[in-house]
Symmetry: D2
Subunit: 144 residues, 4 copies
């Protein structure tokens, strides 16, 4: 398992705004795309989590913009799990132009797990122990 997922993505025309650059809200969406790809690549299929009646809503998100992406660019979103305790999960992101070291943006998201029907928080360790163990194995054993 590899915690750092590098997700490549062409910029879509409709993601730009009249400034001629990608609208900032789309970076939040790209982070979601990269996070779900990160889960998939590590055997943590989010569709499977939802089929088990569990949702993983976003409790916080944050993005710092350093430069801008435009139509024609391919962006590279790196997603990394930074915390998980069964009840909460945290991810970090960095966004670059493909093949370019310079950062476009960095970001963060926080998540919890809730029961789809009751809409109350739950502990993934109890509800899906195997899935939970798979997620835990992604965490660095030493502080990053």
């Amino acid at each position: 398992m590899i915690n750092d997922t590098v997700y490549l993505r062409k910029v879509f025309y409709y993601e730009t705004d009249r400034m001629g650059i990608v609208h900032h809200s789309n970076y939040i969406r790209w982070m979601e795309e990269a996070r779900l790809e990160h889960m998939r690549q590590n055997g943590v299929d989010y569709a499977e989590i939802e089929e088990a009646g569990i949702l993983m809503p976003v409790t916080s998100c944050e993005c710092e913009y350093k430069s801008s992406a435009k139509f024609g660019d391919t962006v590279e979103v790196t997603a990394r799990l930074t915390a998980f305790n069964g009840v909460r999960a945290e991810y970090e992101y960095s966004i670059r132009l493909s093949g370019n070291e310079r950062l476009l943006a960095t970001g963060h998201s926080g998540h919890c797990f809730i029961d789809e029907v009751k809409r109350t928080p739950l502990n993934l360790k109890r509800r899906m122990p195997d899935m939970s163990a798979a997620i835990t194995r992604l965490l660095p054993t030493e502080p990053a």
Copy 2:
């Protein structure tokens, strides 16, 4: 009951693209906003339809663009029910700048009704006769 609903809506910055005008896909979304407002104003609450376990998906949509809207504009979307037989519904739309006769766009959408759980078509006349009658009363008695 008034079949023609005039729905006013400011253009949002994030709806523009790098052409400096509203991206064409957003007109499809404005039509949905106007259609739901049309339903609400006529006592046909779509949230209530969904609470009854019924979905009303779009089976077709179409838009002709004659001019463009930009940030700072307020658009006026007129929605009108043109057909309804319990199984299918059709709406027509015209979009103008507020207070301006000239058309920005015209559009059309088609809809059916399905059971949320079974995902099979249903007849609203049988499942929600009062709602169905309220919708039917909106139709012109003579062909438009």
Copy 3:
């Protein structure tokens, strides 16, 4: 050159709505993604057209929905140029689940070319003859 471009695309979570399926407006966006990929694969780089001060706005779009895509699906959007005369272009689309013959949707879009500054129609044959010839070569010589 190959007129039929098959464009593969994972469904993003944020493209779904509370019906649990992809919101219909996103099919219009997928058609744009496929059209731009079609242009790119045929040496017609849309970013290059815009750099020449030419925009290619959508004058009409249309979609017929036969079935629905959901999160976890990969869709296959086929784009084909069906008409081009220097002043107007038309494309047709079909959308399927990847590896599945059954149609999710079919669509159509119409386009013109305008001068970015003057915002008036132009003839691509005069302004970009090589680009125009490249587009023309994509058209079937016999009626499809």
Copy 4:
């Protein structure tokens, strides 16, 4: 002039996702809507800023989600300018259901000003002194 703008907004159907609630990325868009309404209500017309060749991109954004909005809700987004020095501006937001004290979310955004053509930072105090003074007057004289 009133620094706190309360912006009312119905939730659109297409803003929900398959969790049945509004997708988190849309809160970032609502903040933009409220910020532009805040500017407009205080005589700071953003369209006018852009007509002067000045863009005001987002340099950071952040949102904490405490509860969720769903289709049928009307949300109330309060926007407040918290910092402005000609070069940078900062806004804070709180989001509630209309007529309900309980918070759905709180947020923050940071902005700079750039020259549309050169794409380099600029000082609004020098380029648009009246506009800059109007913005400055919105700030609390005592630290909030």
